[in-house]
């Protein structure tokens, strides 16, 4: 592989290994190489404990590989300290988790505004306007003043997606985004994520167990025992 990422790929992973140190070292990810194109909707699938989430955390710069290199938007992140990785996450990546993880003390609107205010590029008024616009896009316009606890599971997950989009990131990383939802809400979230990739040119990388969800993706990557296994299919 070349030393620099080409422009078409937003995420490039080269021979990445992640090992947890300890009395018995555990290898979570074993020599994985990947290229994810801009605007792609990719699903990472595999049996439980295969290393799907660990790979997602590495792609999303929450964790650093023991070996190998990861490029995000053409930038080699090897050797970046915690602060630089954090800044990169803030500007270019958005996370959606299985559990919504909204801050319970803040209103829906404030939750969406949080990353915008952290980045600090918009005035408070502009940040509020953007948050309203995002919530409106996911049919949550009239819910903005509520606390997360006053919303349904599907609504919360939509708020979480709106928050992930707050700083207009290049990549949305989703970890079992429908894992905790009923089938109707799950389908809704899936359609939203697919729309982000198709209509807005966002790159969406999702870890899932859900076959229906995976069927919507452009590309499926199987992970078994920490390695890429292209032949893996959900049972």
């Amino acid at each position: 592989m070349s030393e620099s990422a080409d422009d078409a790929s937003i995420i490039r992973v080269e021979h990445v290994t992640r090992t947890l140190e300890g009395e018995v070292p555990v290898t979570l990810i074993n020599d994985v190489s990947l290229d994810i194109a801009r605007g792609d909707f990719v699903c990472i699938m595999g049996p439980s404990g295969s290393g799907k989430s660990s790979l997602l955390y590495l792609l999303g710069l929450l964790d650093v590989p023991t070996n190998g290199r990861i490029w995000i938007d053409g930038e080699d992140t090897t050797g970046f300290d915690d602060d630089r990785l954090t800044d990169l996450r803030l500007a270019k990546l958005g996370y959606v988790f299985q559990f919504h993880f909204l801050l319970a003390e803040f209103s829906v609107l404030d939750n969406v505004m949080l990353p915008i205010r952290r980045l600090g590029q918009l005035s408070d008024d502009a940040a509020r306007e953007r948050a309203h616009e995002l919530l409106g896009r996911f049919s949550l316009g009239d819910q903005h003043a509520k606390r997360p606890s006053q919303l349904s599971g599907g609504q919360r997950q939509r708020v979480a997606i709106a928050r992930a989009l707050a700083n207009d990131p290049l990549v949305i990383l989703a970890d079992e985004p429908t894992g905790n939802l009923d089938s109707v809400s799950g389908a809704n979230v899936r359609d939203i994520l697919r729309g982000l990739a198709r209509d807005m040119g966002k790159t969406v990388v999702a870890v899932t167990h859900d076959g229906n969800f995976a069927a919507a993706a452009n590309r499926r990557i199987g992970i078994v025992d920490g390695r890429v296994d292209l032949s893996w299919r959900p049972v």
Binding site: S53, L114, R117
Partner: protein
């Protein structure tokens, strides 16, 4: 910083009761810190004021600090010199050439001085005898350096100036001898000569032994009674700034060649006692704030534990470790600032209440108010100590929060 403030506020209000308990700890700590400090400092200042007001700021004695060395000892400084049959000079004791030396002292800025001849005499009245300390004074000068005039209950210092055969005695002596203003009593001095003097003034200081054993006459009268014409043996000095006494005393001692003792030197033991008392007091009141800071540590630690997921999500979202630390340090600071504000109010309230308390010590007619000091430095001290203990109490939980690794938490949650 605004987000950190919002989040910190949200955390504190989400645990209202615990926050309130921590806050109360700080409020009480600051309040009592102030109340106790104002009372202790007030009593210290009151005590010093009495000490400074009731005694001369500087007294020049007819002695030298280091006796003159014998010529033989000066000749052979390293030898053991024994001089036999040294005869003391037969000379009337006192400050030599005192008018010149007094003029030197009075020329110093902010200095008021009065010459005094102090000796002992025996007062006799109706067959009773009482030994007293007789002070010969110049009323005109004395009234500027001594509080004796304020303590007069009958007659005045001026009356002494008008009557060369007058004497001013204390209330204690008056009671003992059943005298009154205008009574005549005899004063027997060194040489056994008895001279009738008329009581022209009565003073009362509140110090019983002083009131029974002191008597004032004119300087000339004292000089003739004590057989020490044209001599004085004390110069009593009062300064505009009592706390400059130490340096002024050194200047005077260098200028007049006689031992000058400032009130600071004379009360060194009391001053060091007051210092120790202050150290004890501040240790005790600081301990209250220290205990309060444990409450804050507890509250913020609980919040950090409860909010681990929030911390993980904030870090994954793009909050730096230091942003997270700031949130929790801010929580400590907010409790500290709020606690200090209310604590200062409580303290001022307590100080006001203390000041209203009236005490009547047994056997004293006068009502005494508790001496409360309102000086600004103690507010600053109480508030800064409170802030310091609050921020240090939140430091450890804040550091722990900053070290939360999102992946560890997310792995556990999913």
């Amino acid at each position: 910083m605004a987000i950190a403030l919002d989040i910190a506020l949200a955390h504190l209000t989400s645990r209202k009761r615990q926050t309130l308990v921590s806050l109360t700890g700080v409020v009480l700590g600051v309040g009592f810190f102030l109340a106790v400090s104002s009372l202790m400092r007030g009593s210290e200042k009151d005590f010093l004021k009495r000490l400074v007001d009731n005694s001369p700021h500087i007294t020049v004695y007819d002695e030298v600090r280091h006796p003159h060395a014998q010529p033989a000892a000066m000749q052979w400084p390293d030898a053991a010199v024994l001089v036999r049959n040294v005869k003391p000079q037969r000379e009337t004791r006192g400050i030599r050439g005192w008018p010149v030396r007094l003029a030197f002292i009075e020329a110093l800025p902010g200095v008021r001085a009065a010459p005094v001849l102090v000796g002992s005499a025996v007062l006799s009245f109706a067959g009773r005898l009482e030994g007293v300390t007789l002070s010969g004074v110049v009323p005109e000068k004395m009234k500027h350096v001594s509080t004796i005039e304020e303590k007069m209950v009958a007659g005045s210092l001026e009356a002494l100036a008008a009557n060369p055969n007058g004497i001013i005695v204390g209330q204690g002596l008056i009671d003992k001898f059943s005298l009154h203003l205008g009574s005549t009593l005899s004063v027997v001095a060194d040489d056994g000569v008895s001279r009738p003097l008329r009581v022209v003034g009565i003073f009362r200081t509140g110090n019983a032994s002083y009131d029974e054993s002191q008597a004032f006459v004119l300087l000339k009268r004292a000089q003739s009674l004590l057989g020490r014409e044209n001599r004085i043996n004390r110069v009593i000095i009062q300064l505009a700034d009592a706390y400059a006494a130490q340096t002024t005393a050194q200047t005077i001692e260098a200028g007049v060649d006689y031992k000058s003792v400032s009130w600071i030197e004379a009360s060194e033991d009391i001053l060091s006692l007051l210092l120790v008392r202050n150290i004890i007091m501040y240790s005790v009141v600081s301990a209250i704030l220290l205990v309060a800071s444990f409450g804050i540590y507890n509250t913020i630690s609980t919040i950090v534990m409860e909010k681990t997921r929030d911390i993980a999500i904030m870090k994954s979202m793009g909050f730096h470790a230091r942003d997270v630390r700031h949130i929790f340090l801010l929580e400590g600071l907010m409790v500290g600032v709020l606690g200090s504000c209310f604590g200062l109010l409580l303290g001022v309230g307590l100080m006001w209440v203390l000041e209203q308390i009236e005490i009547r010590p047994p056997g004293v007619v006068e009502i005494v108010h508790l001496p409360v000091w309102w000086g600004a430095e103690q507010y600053a001290l109480a508030a800064s100590f409170a802030l310091l203990s609050c921020v240090s109490a939140s430091y450890l939980p804040a550091r722990r929060a900053g070290r939360v690794h999102p992946v560890d938490i997310l792995r556990g949650a999913t």
